[in-house]
Symmetry: C2
Subunit: 207 residues, 2 copies
């Protein structure tokens, strides 16, 4: 079945759903890797160009916007952040799966730019449970928590744009479900099936 | 997310690919069950109506054809065999997955009658391997084996009509892949997402 291409996975979900932890588990598989974003912000101590980010100037970033080379991009505090398409495509071509841990707004941009992206939405079992998890972090004021909960509900309104939903009730099960989705997607029959048919036909003729 | 419906799985593949064994493993999960066919042939000793088959008269069968109640049907040696739609739908409604172990011709009929069926194609790693497996059975003449191999290639030509392909190189892995496909399909976001959104919205308002 020769060499098969990788797939782009968009993983979104309200903060507190365990997205980071789940992505971390998924990345233990060497076929999977994170996409590295491009940014105009200054590198911090210890950050390496091409590892944490591709650090570029405003001009370079805008050249990439001009040639339509972002799957998504946004401005945060006067700095650009974006996912460069060419780099993602190169990784997929090599057979790696690229994982994009991104908010719903960014996820929808990616889907528009690359409709074949596999879209996974992580959900908390309930809002009460999400509140509990955010409170247990102990790092946020009650006001900030309310804001996060209301943002969560706003994000969930876009769930219809996604392909799969994984309710993170139990971390191990949620990770297993995401892995199953990736296994299933790798087993999906491609648009072009002639090479598959040819392989068996040629074997038959060669006999 | 309340009670979710089951799915219909069509599993096809050339004889000798291990379809029976794989289906047997899948059926160990109580959420999965085989579809029971309707037939006009006489019950054999020990066969129970509703378990092996629904045994009916020619007239009854043709009434079902008339009201379009078959996902697929065929005639074999003057007898009808078919998959009754109403019974499958009832099982799906109860949340069970229905597994149809069926040849490609039947599989395509099912897809036409129920486009939401999940279509899985089992493949042998190679024709050489398939030949070896058929020879090892020791039950068939070389002519019959040649006929099966050529039928296998004819069936594989329809692989583009299927959703997933699973190469049975290693039985355990093949079973795990089919299970992953079923897990992924259960995580698929439904067409109607409003009930999901409402659940979280109501929780927010109730607080």
């Amino acid at each position: 079945m020769s060499h098969s291409k990788g797939r782009l996975y968009v993983i979104s979900g309200p903060s507190g759903t365990g997205k980071g932890t789940i992505c971390g588990e998924i990345l233990k598989d060497i076929r999977n890797e994170f996409s590295v974003s491009m940014t105009t912000r200054e590198p911090r101590e210890g950050e390496v160009h091409g590892r944490e980010y591709f650090f570029v100037t405003h001009e370079e970033f805008e050249v990439n916007i001009g040639r339509n080379n972002f799957l998504e991009y946004a401005t945060v505090f006067d700095n650009y952040y974006g996912t460069p398409k060419d780099i993602v495509l190169k990784k997929l071509e090599k057979g790696r799966n690229v994982i994009l841990d991104i908010d719903v707004q960014g996820g929808l941009q990616v889907k528009a730019a690359m409709p074949e992206a596999v879209m996974i939405f992580l959900l908390p079992p309930s809002l009460t449970e999400l509140r509990k998890r955010l409170e247990n972090r102990g790092t946020e004021t009650p006001e900030k928590i309310e804001k996060r909960l209301s943002k969560a509900v706003d994000e969930i309104k876009f769930i219809g744009e996604y392909d799969y939903m994984v309710v993170n009730e139990n971390l191990e099960e949620a990770v297993a479900t995401v892995r199953s989705i990736m296994t299933a997607e790798a087993a999906r029959i491609p648009d072009k099936v002639l090479p598959i048919i040819r392989k068996y036909e040629q074997e038959q003729k060669g006999e």
